[in-house]
Each structure stands twice: as structure tokens, then as C-alpha cells.
């Protein structure tokens, strides 16, 4: 990690060198460690140290962006020059918006030295214990234990300088039998590695794997489902990209377009995005340096706001909510710190309320079929069980669903009090999600 002073010095150097009308500098430093295991042994174990500098220059109605991980003085100069050359080679575009001026973002403490300094031996011992418990049950554990430290700094020539440092600790496992016909998944995630209970993760996964043996096949059809937090988080991920994104609204492909103030989901549901909430993975400003606002997306089922970056905000004549991705991007602004507020009942009470239904631990290979209603297809995986008369009973073979996530949130009739923090791997999005009970969830196939 480079620290506030060094990143400020690098940003100042880039800004001083640039002759463009406006310049933005985004610096991202990461020290990432990940121990990966399968068959009860560590088989991949990696460390990465990297620092990138991303320079955006605005020259009239032209913009150029260059990114490099050469942070020597010459490297910084080269990144600025590349961005400028790219801008100069373009025709003028009215698309480009001037850079935003921003007030300082709130300081949020989410850096834990225990996580940043977690040794490979510490991760290996946790994995070893988990593997021993799996082996004692004649099962095989696979998974990954990640401990990261990162810094993000955003500066621009209008005087903005934002800095945040944080840590990530994430452990997940799939425990399965030798034939691979029974499996269970569990995970834990927190900025503070001391908050991860590896034994509890092991026990949850082992319990599900043991109960998954000899699954029965259920006929496709509409079922009441109890979706555990990991499955709910996977739903939120697609809603973030396709529904609560101002660009999707402006391009008429978001379900909430024109529905502000209308009841669109179950009244039991309130969704918000908050980049400063310590119950998630805070990131209190976006990649344009704009402080992230707490944005109420859905309040008791009623559509409220969507998230904005500078470009989409200018189009709608509103202020950016601080949800830009690294510029430029064709995807629009995205809420990456999503929360569903906890409900009144416990998870066990929710399961007890289901006469006949299916408990889903997580989804797999979910893909968008149609964007407006977030029509999705995917499969269940690593712990799918029949619920009968309020009790989890038999394991069932994994099912394929083809259903609208919009409809699923309309048909939600139970929200658990307990929530879990779930971190998405590919884009670093994070979700604090409860367990949900959803009626009429459409399964369209059974796996062999």
C-alpha cells in the first residue's frame, strides 16, 4: 500500500504535467492474497501487488483516457500524454460532460490491519481445519479464502482529491461427496478477517452436503421458494445493472422508468444503496470523485430513485448521486453497495410459513434473457431442498428457472430479520441481503 501522501503526490504530479483544460486522475492500489483449495488441499495460492493510474483529459468536447501501472515519473507523464493524444485524435462530441466539482467525501474507516497483514499460514490453517472437518465426514472441500487491502484516490484539476482505503476478507466453500452428487455451499465476508467464522462456514456447508445425498426430482412448475442471501444477492446484481441504473432508464430498458412513486414490488421490500455503510464494503465516493449518496431505490415496495453519474445526471438536470464507474463507460452508473432492509421474521420462521416449497442456497450461471422485466435463466446449486409443512425435508435435484426477477420481488411475501454480506467476485459489488420467501417462482427444467 502506498498511503495518502504518496497517492496525493502521484495525483498532483499528473495534474501538474497535464496541459488539458480539465484532467482527472484515478489511482488504485491493491495487495491481494487468495488461497484456493479443492479436494481438501490448497492447490492455488497467489499474491498480487499492483498500482494503476487512470488519466482522463478533457479538451473542449474531446476526451481521452489512458491507464497504466507504471507509476514512475516517466510512466505518469506517458499516461497523461497518451490520454491527450487520444483526445486530440477524436472529432468533437457533445457526449462529453465537464468533470464534476465535489465536496470532500465522508471519511469511512474500513481498513483493518489484521486483514491487510493476514499471512498465508493463517489462511492455510483455517483451510486445513475446514478440510479436516470435511474429511471427517468423508467429504471434499473446495473454495477460496481471500484477504485484500486496497486504496482508491480520485483527483481532478477542479480541486477534488478523495482518498479511501479498505480491506476485504472473504471465505467460501463448496463441500461435496466423492461422486459429486451431493454438495453444500456456505460463505462469510467482512472487511475484518477476525469477523469470519471459518468453523461456522465449514459446518453450514458440511451440513448441507450431508443432507443433499440422494436427491429427488421435482417436476418443473411454479413453486414458493425460500431464497437464501447468496441467491438474493445474485438477483440484486442484475437489478443493479438493468433496473436502478439511470442510463437504462434513459434508454427505456429499465422496468422502473416512469414508475416513480408507484408500488412496483412487495410492500415488504426496501432497497437502498449506501457507499458509507459499515455493514457493507464502504467506498464513499465514485470514480469521478463524487461522494456517494445514500439512494433509496425502493421504499416499502414503491419505486423512488435511481443512481446517476455525471453524464446521466446532466441529461436529467439532476445532481450525480456518486455512482460512476471508471470513465468512460458504456454501462452507465451502477449501485454497487446494495442493501435490502431486514424484515420482521427470522429465517426459521419464514421456512415454517411455507407449506410446500423449495429452499435455494444459491443460483448458478444466471443470464439475462430479456432486460425490461429482468427475465433471467439459471440453475440452483449446492443445496436445494424441498420444504414440506414448514420443515426442510428432502434434497432435490437442481432445477433450471426461467423467471422475471421483477416478478420475484413483486411476489415476495417474507423477508428475514437476519441479513448477510455477500461479495460478488467479478466486479467487486457487494450486497447485504436477507432470506426471502417468494411465491410463484417459475422452474422450467430439471437437471440430470
Amino acid at each position: 500500500m502506498l498511503g495518502y501522501e504518496k497517492l496525493k503526490q502521484l495525483a498532483d504530479a499528473a495534474l501538474a504535467y497535464s496541459k488539458a483544460e480539465q484532467t482527472e486522475v484515478v489511482l488504485h492500489a491493491v495487495d491481494s492474497s487468495l488461497s484456493r483449495f479443492a479436494n481438501n488441499t490448497i492447490h492455488q495460492n497467489v499474491f498480487e501487488s499492483n498500482v494503476t493510474v487512470r488519466v482522463r483529459v478533457v479538451m473542449g468536447k474531446r476526451t481521452g483516457v489512458a491507464e497504466s501501472n507504471d507509476i514512475t515519473p516517466d510512466g505518469i507523464k506517458r499516461a497523461v500524454e497518451t490520454a491527450r493524444a487520444i483526445a486530440q485524435a477524436q472529432p468533437e462530441s457533445q457526449h462529453n460532460a465537464p468533470l464534476p466539482e465535489s465536496a470532500p467525501a465522508p471519511r469511512v474507516e474500513s481498513f483493518f490491519a489484521n486483514t491487510a497483514e493476514c499471512s498465508p499460514e493463517t489462511r492455510a490453517r483455517s483451510i486445513g481445519n475446514l478440510a479436516k472437518q470435511a474429511a471427517a465426514n468423508k467429504l471434499f472441500a473446495a473454495g477460496a479464502f481471500r484477504t485484500d487491502a486496497f486504496e482508491l484516490a480520485v483527483a481532478n484539476s477542479l480541486g477534488t482529491f478523495q482518498f479511501h482505503q479498505g480491506t476485504v476478507a472473504d471465505l467460501h466453500t463448496v463441500v461435496m461427496n466423492d461422486a459429486g452428487t451431493a454438495s453444500g455451499y456456505a460463505s462469510a465476508s467482512s472487511p475484518d478477517v477476525r469477523a469470519l467464522d471459518a468453523n461456522a462456514v465449514a459446518q453450514r456447508a458440511i451440513d448441507k452436503a450431508l443432507r443433499s445425498q440422494n436427491p429427488i426430482a421435482l417436476a418443473p412448475g411454479e413453486y414458493t421458494v425460500v431464497l437464501e442471501p447468496t441467491a438474493v444477492a445474485m438477483m440484486l446484481q442484475y437489478l443493479a445493472w438493468h433496473t436502478f441504473n439511470a442510463l437504462a432508464v434513459q434508454e427505456e430498458r429499465s422496468y422502473v422508468r416512469g414508475k416513480k412513486g408507484e408500488l412496483v414490488f412487495s410492500p415488504l421490500l426496501s432497497l437502498f444503496d449506501d457507499g458509507s455503510d459499515l455493514e457493507g464494503y464502504p467506498l464513499p465516493f465514485d470514480h469521478e470523485g463524487v461522494p456517494r449518496q445514500r439512494v433509496m431505490l425502493i421504499e416499502n415496495g414503491v419505486a423512488r430513485e435511481v443512481v446517476y453519474d455525471t453524464f446521466t445526471a446532466r441529461r436529467d438536470n439532476v445532481a450525480s448521486t456518486g455512482h460512476s464507474l471508471p470513465a468512460p463507460n458504456l454501462q452507465g452508473p451502477v449501485p454497487r453497495n446494495l442493501f435490502i432492509a431486514g424484515g420482521a421474521q427470522t429465517r426459521d420462521e419464514l421456512i415454517a410459513s411455507v407449506t410446500r416449497g423449495i429452499l435455494v442456497t444459491r443460483f448458478w450461471y444466471t443470464r439475462l434473457v430479456a432486460p425490461l422485466h429482468v427475465m433471467m435463466t439459471g440453475l440452483t446449486r449446492d443445496g436445494t431442498f424441498l420444504i414440506e409443512n414448514g420443515q426442510v425435508s428432502l434434497p432435490v435435484k437442481n432445477l433450471r428457472f426461467t423467471t422475471s426477477y421483477i416478478d420475484a420481488l413483486k411476489n415476495t411475501r417474507g423477508v428475514s430479520r437476519e441479513t448477510e454480506l455477500v461479495r460478488e467476485e467479478m466486479y467487486g459489488m457487494n450486497f447485504r441481503a436477507p432470506t426471502l420467501v417468494v411465491d410463484d417462482f417459475s422452474f422450467t427444467g430439471v437437471t440430470q
Binding site: 495460492n45 483516457v65 472529432p91 461435496m176 458504456l330 448458478w364 426461467t402 440430470q448
Partner: protein, 484 residues
């Protein structure tokens, strides 16, 4: 780079590594995108660094850094060794790589026009012209969002190992895509892309010119608008389908390419990407497809996106038979697992996304070898069926057995003719049953090595570029339905 590599190899061996390799990589990626007639993105990303992979105490460790000053090299080598020794705390056996691979050589992608030497203005103008051609079509009340994109990559890579390997490679990639997204007031959304999402090869700018983006742009936009009012694809429990070449490529990628990765078979990807239905007992025994089906993993095809000189363990690129006359006969392997299972020499499929990732078994170019049909003849030979064109959604289970794929459009075939455009088509099946139902494959004139530039695998996630040689093919008794 040679000096840096030698220093790292020396340090690691002196400090107790029984094997070390080091990759130094400089990767430049240029992205240019226009949207609705305006330049949306012009970005150049340069990334350089080195990764050190060691075996110490019989276990793997990998550490990497973007900085190569002396102090950092020292730290990274020590970190790799510390990690390997921590891995050893849970080991059940010592890593054995088999016979050494001490290859020395160089490799360079074959290209005619260096894409980084083409002026930015020329690239942007080509995209703006294609975008304009899409926006000029008659809208018929539809709203249109148009995008056009090019991507160029240059990767310079040096690999050295404690076994004596020293390899240098320069890989060039060029890719492009146009897209028309049409919506109507009823809230319907239809998308058409060309060539199929982003098509990409290890070639120069000549690849982009050969795609004729401008000439194809009006058709793509018109089809997106036509789809809004097209009939919904009917449902059939079992019908005949013909897949376009690019949809065959996707079918190969998902239902053959991934399940033949030997690390998946051995459950090494169980927690993330999943396992494979092609378990070891299936090798040389399973009838994977009909006798027409012949599939190779071939990293030597000129221009393929999975083409290179040496993999990231220093093993030369190879052509391996995967399915022969319908029978499953081979996996993609690496040195460690080929040795463990007595499968002979690795067939050279270990690939890392960049300097900061450890290599994994990854697809190279996985190809369905061409048959003898022509698409027009194949359609004429089909009384009743559906022609599926250009992938839109794809989903398959974690063993790669149960799949469901949708395409951007379909055509009904009646009496040997394409009769009406259909929207929202989906087909579903079980991998070996589907491939066994293949009764016709088109020939070399329609065989294209399609590029799939965004194949994800591993933790931390790695996106790798793969290729798939494919031509249109026909399958019988397939379940078809619509998402509407």
C-alpha cells in the same frame, strides 16, 4: 527482461524452490467505441509486471508485482516461497511436473496491418460510418440505440524457467462489433449484433476490414426493428434445429470446451466454475456425439484467438483430438495433471490472463471440424425446423450437461425454405444427447474461427481469449420454446 528473469530464477532456487518459472508481460489494450453517432470511449490501457511461480516443500506458490526494482523483486520471490510453504501445510502429495520442458524460442502472431499503427482517426471514422448506417434505417416507430466498437491488444511476454526454458512471444489481437438495440412504446427490447457480439482474432487491422462493418450495419439495424413485430418462436417438444456457425461456436464453448478442462474434471474448480460430466471413466468410452462429430483443441490455427506459440508453462502449442468420430478421446491438460494421470506430455493449454495471474487450463481453439454441406442445401433439405442465429443468452449447469441457449433471432423453416422471422427463440438440451443428434455439418467454405474474448474462470477471476472453428450444423429432436 532476460536479466530480470535470470535474477529471479537464481534467487528462488537459492532460497529453496525446487522449480521456478517467471513470466514478464507488457500488455497494451486499446478500446474505441461510438454510440448513437458520437465517440463514447477511446481508452488505452497499459499493464506490465512479472509473476513468479514456485514449487517449494512440494507445493505451489505464486506472487506478482507491477514494480521490478530490486527491492520489490526480492520481496516477491520471498512471498512466492512463503506462500508455497504455507500451501504445503495442507498438501496430500508433492507436485510432480514430469519430464522437464526446456524449450527455447520465439513466436509472433501473423498479421498484415499492425492495428497500433493505424491512425486513431481512421479507426474512429470507420466506426462512425457503421454507426451512421445503422441509424439511417427506417425506424417504423421504434427507438434505436446503436453502438460500434473496436478492440486491439498487443502482448509481449517472456517466459523463463529453472528447467532452462526461455521463450519470447508477441501476440496481436484485433476485434470489433456493431450492435443495434431497438425498443418500442410497449417496452419490448430486441438486440442484433454483428459479427456476433465482439468477434476477435490474433490478426491485425485487416481482420476488422474483412468484417465489412459498414456494409452489414443497415441489415443489423433493420433486423433489430423487424424483430419487435416478428412472431414469437413457437414451442416444440422435439423439432429439427439448424444453428448458425457462430451459435455452433457458442455451443462448442459451453458444452465441450469447458467440460474437457482436466482441472474441472478433477474438481479443482468445484467451488466456482464447477466440475464436469466428462469424468475419467468416460475417456475413450463415451459416445459424446454422432459419428459426424470431430472436435479438436488446436492452438496452432493461424489467426485463432486461442492461437499462440507456447503456453504459460512453456509447452509448445499443439493440436489435440478431443472427440473422434463421435467418441470422447481427450482432455485439455497441463504438466502436473498429465503426469499425475499418465496422460503423456501436456497438450499445452495453461494460460494466464496477465502477469498477475497464475496459469490455469484454458481453452485454446476448440473446433468442430467441417463437414460437407452448404447452408443453403441444408435448409433445402429440412422440411420442418428452426434456424437459430447469433447467441443472445446462455446458461449451463456446473457439470456442463444441462444447457439452455437463446439467440437473437430465428427463422422458421417449412418445406426447405426460410418462411418467417421469429423472435425470442430458445433451445434446451443435454450435452451428449444433443451432439448425438447432429446429422449434418457445413463445409470449409462456411467454417470460421470465431473469437470469444471474454471467457471467465478461476479465482481471482481471469478472462481469457478463446477461439472456436465452426460452421452451421443441424440437430434433430431438440426442445424449442420462447421466452415470451
Amino acid at each position: 527482461m532476460k536479466d530480470l528473469s535470470a535474477r529471479i530464477l537464481n534467487m528462488a532456487q537459492m532460497r529453496g524452490a525446487s522449480y521456478t518459472d517467471v513470466r514478464t508481460v507488457t500488455r497494451t489494450m486499446q478500446t474505441i467505441a461510438v454510440k448513437n453517432g458520437r465517440v463514447q470511449e477511446v481508452t488505452q490501457n497499459e499493464s506490465q509486471g512479472f509473476g513468479v511461480r514456485v514449487i517449494a516443500d512440494g507445493a505451489w506458490g505464486f506472487a506478482s508485482s507491477s514494480r521490478d526494482d530490486y527491492a520489490d523483486v526480492d520481496v516477491v520471490v520471498n512471498r512466492a516461497l512463503q506462500i508455497a510453504r504455507a500451501s504445503a501445510l495442507t498438501k496430500t502429495r508433492n507436485i510432480n511436473l514430469g519430464p522437464p520442458e526446456a524449450n527455447k524460442g520465439t513466436y509472433r502472431s501473423e498479421y498484415k496491418m499492425d492495428p497500433f499503427m493505424i491512425s486513431m482517426a481512421d479507426k474512429i471514422n470507420l466506426l462512425l460510418k457503421a454507426d451512421e448506417q445503422m441509424r439511417r434505417v427506417k425506424k417504423n416507430g421504434a427507438h434505436l440505440v446503436t453502438t460500434a466498437e473496436m478492440v486491439f491488444v498487443r502482448e509481449d511476454k517472456t517466459f523463463a524457467s529453472s528447467e532452462g526454458a526461455l521463450l519470447q512471444q508477441e501476440i496481436i489481437e484485433s476485434g470489433c462489433e456493431i450492435q443495434a438495440l431497438a425498443t418500442n412504446d410497449a417496452g419490448e427490447v430486441q438486440t442484433r449484433t454483428y459479427p456476433w457480439g465482439r468477434h476477435q482474432q490474433t490478426r491485425g487491422f485487416e481482420f476488422v476490414l474483412e468484417q465489412h462493418l459498414v456494409e452489414n450495419a443497415p441489415r443489423i439495424a433493420e433486423e433489430a426493428i423487424l424483430l419487435l413485430s416478428a412472431d414469437v418462436c413457437p414451442a416444440y417438444d422435439a423439432t429439427t434445429v439448424i444453428l448458425s456457425g457462430n451459435q455452433v461456436a457458442l455451443q462448442i464453448h459451453e458444452s465441450c470446451g469447458h467440460p474437457i478442462e482436466l482441472d474441472r474434471v478433477l474438481k479443482q474448480e468445484a467451488s466456482f466454475a464447477g466440475t464436469s460430466f466428462l469424468t475419467l471413466d468416460k475417456l475413450n468410452t463415451l459416445q459424446y456425439g454422432s459419428e459426424l462429430v470431430n472436435i479438436t483443441a488446436d492452438a496452432t490455427i493461424p489467426g485463432g484467438l486461442g492461437t499462440f506459440g507456447y503456453d504459460d508453462e512453456g509447452v509448445p502449442a499443439q493440436r489435440a483430438q478431443i472427440v473422434k468420430d463421435g467418441r470422447f478421446v481427450g482432455y485439455m491438460t497441463n504438466r502436473e495433471l498429465a503426469t499425475e494421470l499418465n496422460l503423456g506430455r501436456s497438450n499445452g493449454t495453461m494460460r494466464a490472463e496477465n502477469w498477475n495471474r497464475t496459469p490455469l487450463i484454458r481453452m485454446t481453439n476448440i473446433n468442430l471440424l467441417p463437414g460437407s454441406w452448404k447452408l443453403d442445401d441444408l435448409i433445402a433439405d429440412t422440411d420442418d425446423g428452426i434456424y437459430f442465429d447469433t447467441n443472445r443468452s446462455w446458461s449451463i449447469d456446473d457439470k456442463r450437461l444441462n444447457f439452455q441457449f437463446g439467440t437473437e433471432l430465428a427463422w422458421e423453416i417449412k418445406g426447405g425454405k426460410k418462411t418467417r422471422l421469429l423472435k425470442n427463440p430458445i433451445y434446451t438440451g443435454v450435452t451428449p444427447n444433443f451432439w448425438r443428434s447432429c446429422d449434418a455439418i457445413c463445409g470449409e467454405s462456411e467454417w470460421v474461427v470465431w473469437g470469444t474474448p471474454r471467457c471467465g474462470k478461476g479465482q481471482p477471476p481471469q478472462t481469457i481469449r478463446t477461439g472456436h472453428g465452426a460452421s452451421p450444423a443441424r440437430f434433430r429432436n431438440v426442445k424449442v420454446f420462447s421466452r415470451s
